[in-house]
């Protein structure tokens, strides 16, 4: 019993002495760090995930304090942390509009026609080696094998009914899915964008109708409706300029194929 007490005493005393030594030396060798950096670091989540593109929370805090990174750079903390950091930095958190990923395809299992049944490797990247680039007739749309799902660190994108769908609330707009999609179907759009074109097919109208019931046929009806020049048709596909769009919804009303959606 005596041995246990002595052992405990020795180890804890050693620890105590070393602790005091370190504390004193810490004061003596203290490096002047920007006060803002310390405060910003305190607000960051501290799990060093690297989602911001920096080496860790310390590196991000340094960059924010130096004004090199945006206050809302931390994808994990989101708006709440951005607001607190903005307060420390004395800027507005709303400087940078929140963005979200958006999949430009609505050709789910019911809407998109299939040429054949595919039962091979379930991965988007092998599709270029498969006849017609996959079983769907449309060669532009989502293949639904989830390369983007695997790329997402935030569980924000899922395959629903054969096509990828982004959970706007969970999406941190990190852009990993954008890079992962071999068909470049995903783009980052403003979080509060209202009407979106849910198609990416550059086929001519007739071919689009033949392959999918939710495809843009490039009829230009929407461009004629828009009073703000916000929507253009190029390569048989409508495109909305979100800087100009006011969200009146006239394009969606007139769209004969109903591919301009609110959600």
């Amino acid at each position: 019993m005596n041995g246990v007490i002595i052992a405990t005493l020795v180890v804890s005393l050693t620890g105590l002495i070393l602790g005091i030594f370190l504390g004193v030396m810490g004061k003596k060798f203290a490096v002047e760090v920007d006060e803002k950096q310390i405060k910003v670091r305190e607000q960051l989540p501290g799990n060093n995930c690297g989602g911001c593109g920096y080496a860790g929370c310390d590196a991000l805090a340094k960059a924010i304090a130096a004004g090199e990174a945006a206050v809302g750079q931390c994808p994990v903390g989101g708006a709440a942390v951005a607001a607190k950091i903005a307060e420390i930095m004395g800027t507005e958190a709303g400087d940078e509009a929140r963005k979200t990923a958006f999949v430009k395809c609505a050709g789910d299992c019911e809407k998109a026609k299939e040429n054949y049944k595919y039962s091979g490797v379930k991965d988007c990247s092998v599709m270029p080696f498969v006849p017609n680039g996959g079983s769907k007739t449309c060669t532009f749309g989502c293949m639904g094998f989830g390369s983007c799902v695997k790329a997402c660190d935030f569980d924000a994108i899922h395959i629903v009914n054969g096509i990828a769908k982004v959970d706007k609330e969970k999406c941190k707009a990190c852009g990993k899915c954008v890079a992962a999609c071999p068909r470049h179907l995903i783009e980052l759009i403003p979080y509060d964008a209202t009407y979106k074109v849910k198609c990416a097919s550059k086929d001519k109208g007739k071919d689009v109708i033949a392959s999918c019931s939710a495809g843009c046929i490039g009829c230009m009806m929407c461009t004629k409706q828009c009073e703000h020049d916000a929507i253009t048709v190029e390569n048989n596909i409508a495109h909305i300029d979100y800087d100009k769009c006011v969200g009146c919804g006239k394009c969606a009303e007139k769209c004969p194929k109903k591919i301009i959606h609110l959600d």
């Binding site: 041995g3 002595i6 052992a7 020795v10 180890v11 050693t14 620890g15 070393l18 602790g19 030594f21 370190l22 030396m25 810490g26 060798f29 203290a30 490096v31």
Partner: protein
């Protein structure tokens, strides 16, 4: 004479990295540039020398009299960890560039088994205080020599036409193996 033998033995013949295979993590991790390798070597020299001195003192004057020899590992680790913290503070204050270059490998000296290895070797060979310090210094210099040579070779390797499959770590590990064989030649001098 005995002390010189201990130092040479620790530095060259029983080189920590190349013949005892301790402390391989920083040896492979921080050996990309000679400058940072030398910095790492310097930090390790400081830590190991001071650690073996303090550990020897604690062992001989606290643990042995109190019959607590079985606590040596835990106490040594305590000492080493705080020493590394201390070195980190000093480097951060005095040489911020080196601090950034060493990055995560600096706190990792704590878990560099070479440091604990020396402390335990000293105990095993029942060295006295001065012998422990010399042994620690020798070992650390051996580590520094190995890592600086490695960095030099790696810098040269960058310019070489390395086969595709050997690029990166494989060629480094091969180099380490060849260095180890070369250092084996020192075993004849004692």
């Amino acid at each position: 004479m005995n002390l010189i033998l201990i130092a040479i033995g620790a530095a060259l013949v029983n080189n920590v990295v190349l013949s005892q295979f301790l402390g391989l993590c920083p040896f492979l991790g921080v050996s990309k540039k000679i400058n940072t390798a030398a910095g790492m070597g310097g930090a390790v020299i400081g830590v190991i020398t001071v650690a073996s001195a303090i550990c020897s003192l604690i062992y001989n004057y606290i643990l042995v009299p109190l019959d607590l020899v079985y606590l040596n590992t835990i106490v040594f680790i305590l000492v080493i960890a705080s020493l590394v913290q201390f070195v980190e503070m000093v480097l951060k204050k005095c040489s911020h560039n080196l601090y950034e270059a060493l990055g995560v490998y600096l706190p990792l000296i704590t878990t560099n088994c070479a440091v604990l290895g020396v402390a335990l070797t000293n105990v095993q060979n029942s060295y006295n205080f001065i012998e422990s310090v010399v042994c620690g210094l020798g070992t650390a210099i051996g580590f520094a020599i190995a890592i600086v040579i490695m960095a030099g070779i790696r810098e040269r390797n960058e310019d070489n036409d390395v086969p595709e499959s050997f690029k990166g770590m494989p060629i480094v590990l091969l180099t380490a193996g060849l260095m180890s064989i070369a250092f084996f030649g020192f075993s004849g001098i004692l």
